[in-house]
Every structure is written in C-alpha cells, then in structure tokens.
Amino acid sequence: MFAAIRAVAYHLPSNTVSNEDLARDFPDWSLQKVAAKTGIDCRHLAASDECASDLAEAAARKLFATGIVAPEQIDYLLFCTQSPDHPLPTTACLLQHRLGLPTEIGALDFNLGCSGFVYGLGLAKGLIETAQASRVLLLTGETYSKFLDPNDRGVRTIFGDGAAAALIEARRDAPETGDWIGPFVYGTDGRGKDNLIVQAGGARSHWAAADYLYMNGPEIFSFTLDSVPRAIETLLKRTGLSIDTIDYFVFHQANIFMLEHLRQKIGIAAEKFLMAMRHCGNTVSSTIPIVLNEASRQGRFQPGQRIALVGFGVGYSWAATLIRWAG
C-alpha cells in the first residue's frame, strides 16, 4: 500500500486584525513598509474561548463536508499543535470524541510548529505503509495569538491563528515514478530553542508564570538561510530530480521577505513558488496545507505533479518532502 494526500481543508477564526488595526496600536511604525515586507494584510485570531482544537475541529468538519471521507472511516488521528487544550489529556483524544471518530483508532498529539505538517505527513506515511492505518486524519491547529505580547508589534504583525485538516489515504497503486509522498529530509537543532519560545506553562517553568512568545527574527532568518537551501539540496539528491523538474514549491509561509530571498537564493522560478499568506498571516503548522488547499481550489495542480514541501522554524526543526498530487 502507498500513502497519498487525498484532500486538504482549512479553517480560520472569524475575528480579524488588519494592518489598519495595527496602525492604530502602533502609530509610529510604517505599516505600509511592514505589509510590503511581510506580505500580510490580515490575520485571524481565535476568540478568548476558542482553542486550537476548536479550529482543528472546524477544519476537519469542512473536510468531511466535501464527502470525500466520513468520520467513521478514519482509523488514525494525528494532531499537530503547540497550543493544546490542556497539558493532559491529549487533545487528539478530545477531538476523537468531538468529531465522532470510532473509538478503535489511534490518536495522538505531536508538538511541532512550522515544520509540523511535513513531519505529520512522514508519520502518516509510516502508519499507512506499515499497515497500521489506512485513512489518517492529519490536523494542524494553532493559537499563537494567545501567547503574544500586545506591545510586541513584530510578532503581532506576523502570526495568525488557524487550522488545517488533511486526509492521507492508502492506495494500491504507485505513481509512474517515485512515491505519492516522500522521500523525506529531516532536521533538528535545539541550539535554536531560545529564538522562538514561550517559557511558561511547561514542567520547566512555574505553571502560573505569565509569559509571552519571544521571537528573535534576525536569528531565525539566519537559520533559514542556512537550513532551507541545504534541505532542498538534500531532497533533490534523494529524489534524483533537479529544481527544474519539480512543478511547484510550497515553503512554510513565514513572511514574504524571507520567502522571496529563499526563492532567489535557491533559484526557483517565481511561477513555481506558491504562496498564500496575505489573508491569514503565519499560521505556523497550517501554512503549508493552506497553500495546498488554495492552489488546488484554483486548479493549479494536475494529477501526478511533483510538489516540494518545506517546513522550518521553532525548535529549530525542519523537514522537506516531495509529494505527487494524487488528484
């Protein structure tokens, strides 16, 4: 059996923050310049009583509403989030119940940020191709907005809340060449831990400590300039392909400035480099599936086309893979 992405959906919360809204909070900052550099016009923020699981549930329901799969057909649930409902129990267990998935399934959370969707594909492929599952529901969901300092204009400009749902399914047929999903390139460097962090709330910090997300943008930029081109180079070696023979590239949607620099550095043609963040900002692990969903709805993808995915960020953690669009 071979694992393939069958469908992708996403959900954004209804509250929005535009660049004009931010300009009222930060009148001394050139938000036109910031908008040009980030490529973001609008971010969606979860309501105070809305959690990442609520967003993920809504994304999953959108997926089910397409008719492509029913809840009772799912046999494994993966939930990527850094904003769980509780330290315990596992939020995926709550989602199993709320979505009406069978009780005879596996379900787990995994804590990753911007690299999470690609890691999730790796996990799903492993489960399916070892016959542990045949239909994996991969959910990503994040509410970074709840960690943001209201006075930190840098992070408030970039991050938005959102969730995505992807169905990864077992297929009997392989594509003409290669795999529907894979190979994979993984990377981890914990030396970067302090450059994107929320200190409070875990076992290492006082539970009651109020703390905001801290991000060292320049240091993270330096990390991406080094790790992302190397990941693409390794992926090309493992696939035996070249930049020109890959149809599309979808990178984690950090901000347009970083992405455009990476695109030029790696030598990817603009028409192959897909982006979709203007309307939602950096939604962490949901950025890649949001681009896939938007591009698919616009009719960009043909069955069998090769799409390189690269997630990178908090951790530091990064991962790249090649998918064939299964249609």
């Binding site: 910031v34 943008g217 240091e219 993270i220 330096s222 620099h261």
Partner: protein, 80 residues
C-alpha cells in the same frame, strides 16, 4: 567584500543616498535601523557574499564599525 561595498549595502538597507555613511556611526542614530532593517541587511549580505550572518551577532552590534567587522573588514581599513 570591500569597506566601500559593505557601506553601500548598509546604505541600500536604510534607503540612504550613496556615500552617506563614513563607517563610524552609531546604529541607533541611523534613521530606519530596526529589526526589519536588520533582516534586510542580512539578506543583502547573503545575496552579495553568500554568507548568512548570525542575526544575534548583528543585533549585538552598536556601531557601523562593528557591523563591518562581522563582514571581515579589517580594523586597519576602518581607520583609513
């Protein structure tokens, strides 16, 4: 990279006229030097010299001279 080229990159980052900087300025006194311009400078250096500068080291610089030093501009050249 020469001292002149390095100063040009910084002028480009800050949208200054060419030959505005002499190399001994304090960064906080330069209009537009902030976290966004730090990213822009790192980007320009990477494009020109294929060298990803450490964001932390750039952020620790207080003067243009210290930035030049990150780019390997020797002290003797800065004194000229």
């Amino acid at each position: 990279m020469t001292r002149h080229e390095a100063l040009q990159l910084l002028e480009q980052t800050l949208e200054m006229e060419p030959c505005t900087l002499v190399g001994n300025e304090r960064l906080r006194d330069l209009p537009g030097w902030d976290s966004m311009s730090t990213l822009a400078f790192i980007s320009l250096v990477d494009k020109k010299a294929r060298t990803p500068l450490s964001g932390a080291r750039v952020a620790r610089c207080k003067t243009v001279a210290e930035l030049l030093e990150l780019l390997g501009i020797p002290p003797a050249e800065r004194a000229a």
